[in-house]
Assembly symmetry: C2
Homo-oligomer: 335 residues x 2
């Protein structure tokens, strides 16, 4: 598989994308095409003392900055590393694309350069997240603030196929609808209508799931509108960060607690790792014609490496080509 | 102040409401009117060896069960403890009402028995929640799954007045709009329109707040539609419970970690207390004509005691009578 990597996306660019890409090549994970200002890439690689042997570089002089209006990727920033990467993907010069750059720009660029899959209304950002029972996929997590019921069903179909093919290799995942109660009639108009539509699909739909049960692994695919999905995602991050901060402070209370801290330190590290989504390699953007992975804005080299791994696995399965068909079969395709 | 307490609401009824009410009377917090089957109340009090001296009892033969359709409180369950308590409140026989019973029934009953304040579209459930910088009020947290922009502004006005008068005694709290980004134009149609309306009020509106920052105490009043507010509330609860569970397991790994656990045990208890919303005494239902407090379904005696305390403080301020006026002044009152 040939994975295109945006060398100038994210807070730690270009160092993290370069290091992650180089490691992926060295470990034989995938062929990698690094996109960005070639001179800078080579200079930074030299500074970091990493070898670019076996790494393809495609020059792109410009950068989509975090604060740039997303639509600029289609206009005056067509030569940015993100735009050029997406153009290469659309042209078949690579099999998947990874970027840690602006989420809005990536969604805009992927939607109009790689293009939506026929029949799918809107692509969804679909991160894998930690739970007590292993990772689950949450979609949408913020690409679409306002959703219609058929969009949510499409998210469920794509998320289910992804998990079945990329993560669980053949096992049909459980699908739950994020709601404010578990009874069938709970929620607003959107959830009530979506519930009926999901019920009529051949998904392994287990019904409504309350946010309280999501960290316990209530379902392997959680379907939500992008607004409440984003609230779920960020509340988990914020609460975990607040609590881990408290725990850290707690061990600094006095001499004895410091000793206790030394004893449990390796275990706390394990706990942090459990909550660390960089292991999962970022969020696939499901609903466009080719695999596109959004790595976290603060992705380090390891996170980029994992994103390349996930991108290659995603592309390898060819599942992206089955999304449109599956959505059409559910009779919820956009006309 | 005279606080009416539903003796038969919640998982731990009637023991917890009786014990909480008795403690409130003994500590001189408020006069208490316990509502429910009088014979059972007296029998349980005897069993628990608590004295009902100074506690008023109003007999109500029936109970609103958790699984009862909420509208039954207005129909065949008019003689339930919850219905009778609300009738007493509406008739001026008490100054505030506390129940740990069904949320849906309490909202339905309060809305149609105590009645909405003139000009306010819908009452909101407004729990106080823990953050790094002290408690904040979240409204709505689930009473209204589908909201219109003017409803959210009304929530902001009521939440601000409540915090200013009941909790901070004169300090105008910061008000934030729950959103999926901090820029002024973020979110769906609901948030974009609400942002403009909030901006035009005289609230201390600090703009959009991301869910990630809420546990850090981003604002003292968080305004949200009931669906995403509920997702925020329950994700905080679920994530905290998952992490505290991990931490507990971690200390049981081996002999040394058990020692470490003994050392930090009192500090972990402090951490749990920090996250324990029973300290805050339940969620006011803002937007009806009299103070109504929803205690958590699993409220213990301490939580009921705190709910009685909060109910008395809420009633004492008389702030409930200023909600309608304040909303009218914001020009977002319902016609």
């Amino acid at each position: 598989m040939r994975v295109i990597v945006d060398a100038f996306g994210g807070d730690n660019a270009p160092q993290a994308p370069i290091a992650g890409a180089v490691e992926a090549v060295q470990k034989g994970l995938a062929e990698v095409i690094l996109v960005g200002d070639e001179e800078k890439i080579r200079a930074v690689a030299t500074e970091m003392a990493v070898s670019l042997d076996g790494v393809n570089i495609v020059h792109a002089p410009d950068v989509m900055e975090m604060e740039d209006e997303p639509r600029r990727i289609l206009k005056d920033k067509k030569t940015s590393s993100m735009a050029v990467g997406l153009q290469l993907l659309a042209a078949g010069e690579g099999d998947a694309f990874v970027s840690a750059g602006s989420t809005g720009a990536l969604i805009m660029g992927a939607t109009f350069i790689v293009k939506r899959i026929k029949g799918i209304s809107r692509p969804a950002l679909a991160p894998l997240m930690p739970s007590d029972k292993g990772p689950f996929m949450l979609l949408d997590s913020g690409a679409n603030a306002d959703c219609r019921p058929e969009m949510l069903v499409q998210f469920g179909v794509m998320g289910s196929l992804y998990m079945e093919n990329v993560l669980y290799k053949g096992e049909k995942p459980t699908v739950g609808l994020l709601n404010i109660g578990t009874e069938d009639t709970k929620g607003g108009e959107l959830q009530q209508e979506t519930f009926k539509l999901l019920k009529a699909t051949d998904l392994n739909f287990i019904g409504n799931v309350e946010a309280r049960e999501v960290p316990n692994g209530a379902a392997q695919v959680i379907v939500a509108d992008g607004f409440s999905g984003n609230v779920l995602l960020k509340t988990m991050e914020g609460t975990a960060s607040m609590l881990l901060g408290y725990v850290k402070t707690l061990f600094h209370t006095n001499f004895l607690t410091k000793i206790a801290g030394l004893i449990v330190k390796p275990h706390i590290a394990g706990l942090k790792k459990k909550m660390d989504t960089s292991e999962y390699g970022g969020a696939p953007l499901l609903g466009v014609n080719k695999p596109v992975i959004k790595a976290h804005g603060n992705a380090n080299a390891k996170a980029i490496y994992n994103a390349v791994r996930v991108a290659a696995e995603f592309a390898q399965t060819g599942v992206v080509e089955r999304f449109g068909e599956a959505v059409a079969a559910s009779a919820i395709a956009e006309a």
